[in-house]
Each structure stands twice: as structure tokens, then as C-alpha cells.
């Protein structure tokens, strides 16, 4: 489902973020990508989402070579992924409901169905009744849950999260971890980049570790 074939990424400033990384994530798997800050976790996720292109090697998502996709093909790849970035990236001038609706709007989803899906996604992440709230009035954990609702509203087969529990207190972090566990149980393939891997170890996740851009054995 997801495959990295000897992928390297060097940024314009000469920094080697990833070096010769090869890995495979199977359908329905929950993979925890561990490593310290600057280990290359975010770069790996950006390569998956087509936000960066590899300097060498190939990244495959659902049999598509991400690096070989044309710019006009990239949106269709991103629609098959649920992305939760480190900063929640909610639009602060729109309600939680409108934020969660956004992925459906960009794909031109019929309004009636879209509204039903948004309500379902908000309920799934425990934000039922919060649709009319503005993001900045929510707690950090609630904002992260809104971002997760936005990532799952399209019902993606792959969910990718970059440090989803960063900046959250332990109680909120456990709630978020439980959410990902629930999605995994529903059959979603999940890749979690985190420096707090202990949160996910009770859920039988496979663990790999990056250090200085290299995959540790």
C-alpha cells in the first residue's frame, strides 16, 4: 500500500533529511514512526503527501509513484489520504463545522451528504455539538480532534499524522491515541510520526525509528 524504495531527500540548503530509506506499510497496518526532532519524520510524511519530491528513490502510495505524479494529479492523491499535521492548521475565521466540511467542499461533494458526513465525523471524534464553535475557543485537545475529524471526513483508506499529540497534556494525548486505535480497528491504515511512542505501544503498533534521516534496524 505504501512503499519507500531507497528514498533520499536533500533540501536546497544541502541538509540531508532522509538517506536511503526503504520501508513498506501494509494495508490496515498501524505504524509508529519514532525519532527525535530533526530525525526526518516530517520529511517522510511530506514525501508521502507529495509536498516534497525525493532527491533519489521512489515513494509508492496505492501503486502510484508519488514523485512521478504531475501537479494536476497531486490533488487526487491527497484526497485518498487523511492528513493531520503537527500544527492543526484549522482556519480560525471559520467554525469547526466549516473546517471539517472543507475536504468535502474541495471535492465538490453534494451539500446534503456532506453535512451528514461532517456531523458523523464530529461525533466520531467526540465533538458533537461543537460544530458552531470557532477553533480558537476550543482547548488544544479539542482543536486536534477537530483536525482529525477533518482528516477522516473523506473516509480515507490511509491516515497520516505528524506528532498528533504534541503540545497536549497527557489526558488529551491519551484521548487522541484512543481515537487512532479506533480508526485502526475500523481497517484504516495509519502512519503516526511521534516522539511519544509509548502512547501507542498498548495498541500493538509496529514501530520503526529514524535517526539523522536513516532508518534504524
Amino acid at each position: 500500500m505504501i512503499r519507500f524504495d531507497q528514498v533520499s531527500k536533500r533540501y536546497a540548503d544541502g541538509h540531508d533529511a532522509l538517506s536511503d530509506v526503504s520501508l513498506e506499510i501494509r494495508h490496515g497496518e498501524l505504524l509508529v514512526l519514532a525519532g527525535h526532532s530533526g530525525a526526518g519524520k516530517s520529511t517522510l510524511i511530506k514525501l508521502l503527501a507529495g509536498l516534497e519530491r525525493p532527491t533519489a528513490g521512489r515513494v509508492w502510495v496505492n501503486d502510484q509513484d508519488v514523485g512521478g505524479l504531475r501537479p494536476n494529479q497531486m490533488p487526487y492523491l491527497r484526497r485518498s489520504l487523511g492528513l493531520v499535521m503537527q500544527e492543526h492548521r484549522l482556519l480560525t475565521d471559520r467554525t469547526v463545522f466549516d473546517n471539517v466540511m472543507l475536504p468535502l467542499l474541495v471535492t465538490g461533494y453534494p451539500p446534503g451528504d456532506a453535512e451528514r458526513r461532517v456531523h458523523a465525523a464530529l461525533e466520531k471524534v467526540g465533538l458533537k455539538g461543537f460544530g458552531g464553535a470557532m477553533p480558537l475557543t476550543l482547548s488544544g485537545g479539542e482543536q486536534q480532534r477537530a483536525a482529525i475529524a477533518r482528516a477522516i471526513v473523506n473516509r480515507p483508506s490511509i491516515l497520516i499524522a505528524d506528532e498528533p499529540t504534541a503540545h497536549l497534556d497527557p489526558a488529551y494525548a491519551r484521548e487522541i491515541a484512543a481515537l487512532f486505535r479506533a480508526f485502526h480497528a475500523a481497517g484504516v491504515t495509519i502512519l503516526l510520526a511521534t516522539h511519544d511512542e509509548t502512547l501507542f505501544s498498548p495498541y500493538g503498533a509496529r514501530r520503526i525509528e529514524l535517526a539523522q534521516g536513516r532508518l534504524l534496524a
Partner: protein, 302 residues
């Protein structure tokens, strides 16, 4: 409703929301568009009115044949017979010199001058109306009449109309050039407005692209915004033209009357209004299109 139509409706709604969300800024931008467009639009309306007057006059060309001073009544009558027999001439009318002086005295501004004359300096004349509308035929008639022994001078009265036609053409051309230059300025205004919008909505654009929005999806609301802003400017420009015309028309008509010219100024017709609105909308859309092309074209996602 098809998928594409739904996306366009969404973009149009978004653009309209942005337009009404900042009413003062939108109104000021529309005023800039309107003021720039109203000048050439008003100029074209006035030029068109003068052009209509010229067309009306040129439909009845007249040739004035002035006889030599001292031409006898018999010689004048003989010339009249020749004119009546000429197949190229539709009608002819003899104007005795006394009647010509009376007409001159009756015309505004000449009464005092005519009163001071010791004797009538005007000659007898024939006013003829030729067949057809070919200026070359009129000229041929003028040349043949000028060769008659009784004739002192032949004046083709359509000459001034031709000059008026040329002046109207030049005026219209100048207005088109002015509209083009001001239109280019409006494209720049629209370009800059959209550039600022893209800057302020950079975060939203980046998030939308991250969630799978196509570049077209992101561009579309800006294009519609430019189009709506131009259209609004066009509507205001139309209002300004109508207001100015309402104010200026009686003054121009009074001025024309002092030259014995009956001028009934008309505003732009439905086709003219539609052209003005389409031109304004097109300029807005063009500026927006250039701006999104410049600022969104394959740009990175923040």
C-alpha cells in the same frame, strides 16, 4: 446539477461573500473602476450623438449654385430649365437674393449685421438636391454647374458633413484609445486587489491544497471576484454616465440650438450598456486571471 456547475456556483458564492464582507473596500474599488470607465463611456455617448446628427444631415445633400451678380432674370430662368432637365438632379429651388437676405436676417446672430448693410450683397441662387448618395456624383454635378456662364460659385453642402464624419471618427478613435489605456490601468487595479487577497488568504489556500483542492478550485473564486468587481464598477460607471448626461444634455442642446442645430442627446442604448458592463467585467476578470497566474501558479504549499 452537474459537479462542475456546483463547483462554479460554490466559487461564485464565495466571491460574492468576499465582496459583501468588506462593503466599503468593494465600493471604493468599484468607484475606481467606474470613474476610469465613465470618462471614455461618456465621450463615446457624446460622439455617437454627434455622429447620429451627421448621418441625419448627410442623408439630404444639397448643392448651392450662386449666380453671378447682374445675371438677368431670363438667364436665371434658362439655367433653371437646364437644371430641371438634368436627370442627375432630383429637385431644384430658386432662391432670389432678397429672400436670401431675409433668411439671413432671421437667423440668430445675423439680424444686426443684415440691418447695417446699405445694399444686398447676396446673389440669386439655386438650391438643388441631387439623386443618389455617391459623393463622386455630387462632385461631378458641382464641376459641370461651375462651368455654366451664369454661375459664379457652386458649393457642395455635404462637404462640412464629410468633415464632421471625419471628426466623429477621430473622436471615436480617441475614446477607444482612452478606454484602452484606462482599461489597462483597471487590469492593474484588479491584479493588485487579487494579489492582496491571495496574500491574506495564503493559509486557507495552503490548507485547501493540502486537503486535495485542485489549482482550478483555488483560482476560481478569485476569478469570479475580479469579474464581479469589474461588473459592479461597470454598473456604477453606467450610473455616472446617466447622471452626467442628465445634467449636461440640456446645456449642450441649448448650445446647439444657438447654431440652429436641433440636437436631442440620447444615452447609451441596451447594447451600449451591455457592452460597458461586459467590458468592465472582462477587465476585472483579466486582472484577476493574470494575478492568480502570477501568484498561484504551481506555488509551494506552505
Amino acid at each position: 446539477m452537474t459537479h462542475t456547475l456546483f463547483l462554479h456556483q460554490l466559487a461564485l458564492r464565495g466571491a460574492f461573500s468576499r465582496l459583501v464582507a468588506r462593503p466599503l473596500a468593494s465600493l471604493l474599488s468599484a468607484l475606481v473602476v467606474a470613474i476610469a470607465l465613465s470618462l471614455p463611456a461618456l465621450g463615446l455617448v457624446l460622439v455617437d450623438n454627434v455622429g447620429r446628427l451627421a448621418r441625419g444631415v448627410s442623408g439630404k445633400p444639397e448643392i448651392s449654385v450662386f449666380l453671378k451678380t447682374g445675371t438677368s432674370e431670363a438667364a436665371a430662368r434658362a439655367l433653371g430649365e437646364q437644371l430641371r432637365a438634368d436627370a442627375r438632379i432630383a429637385s431644384q429651388r430658386f432662391v432670389p437674393r432678397d429672400e436670401a437676405l431675409r433668411q439671413l436676417s432671421a437667423r440668430g446672430g445675423f439680424a444686426d449685421v443684415a440691418g447695417t448693410l446699405e445694399e444686398n450683397p447676396l446673389p440669386d441662387a439655386f438650391v438643388i438636391e441631387p439623386h443618389g448618395d455617391d459623393p463622386a456624383d455630387f462632385e461631378a454635378i458641382r464641376v459641370s454647374l461651375a462651368a455654366k456662364p451664369q454661375v459664379d460659385y457652386v458649393q457642395l453642402d455635404s462637404a462640412w458633413v464629410e468633415r464632421l464624419h471625419a471628426a466623429v471618427g477621430l473622436g471615436r478613435w480617441c475614446m477607444y484609445v482612452l478606454a484602452g489605456l484606462l482599461g489597462a490601468a483597471l487590469v492593474i487595479v484588479s491584479f493588485n486587489t487579487i494579489r492582496l487577497q491571495i496574500l491574506t488568504q495564503r493559509h486557507e489556500i495552503a490548507v485547501s491544497l493540502l486537503l486535495g483542492a485542485t489549482r482550478s478550485f483555488v483560482r476560481r473564486p478569485f476569478l469570479y471576484f475580479g469579474l464581479l468587481q469589474g461588473l459592479l464598477g461597470g454598473v456604477v460607471a453606467w450610473g455616472i454616465v446617466a447622471l452626467l448626461l442628465w445634467q449636461i444634455a440640456p446645456r449642450i442642446e441649448a448650445f446647439a440650438r444657438s447654431y440652429s442645430i436641433v440636437l436631442d442627446l440620447a444615452g447609451p442604448g441596451p447594447a451600449g450598456v451591455a457592452a460597458l458592463l461586459a467590458f468592465a467585467a472582462l477587465l476585472g476578470w483579466l486582472g484577476a486571471g493574470l494575478s492568480v497566474r502570477r501568484h498561484l501558479h504551481d506555488g509551494p504549499i506552505d
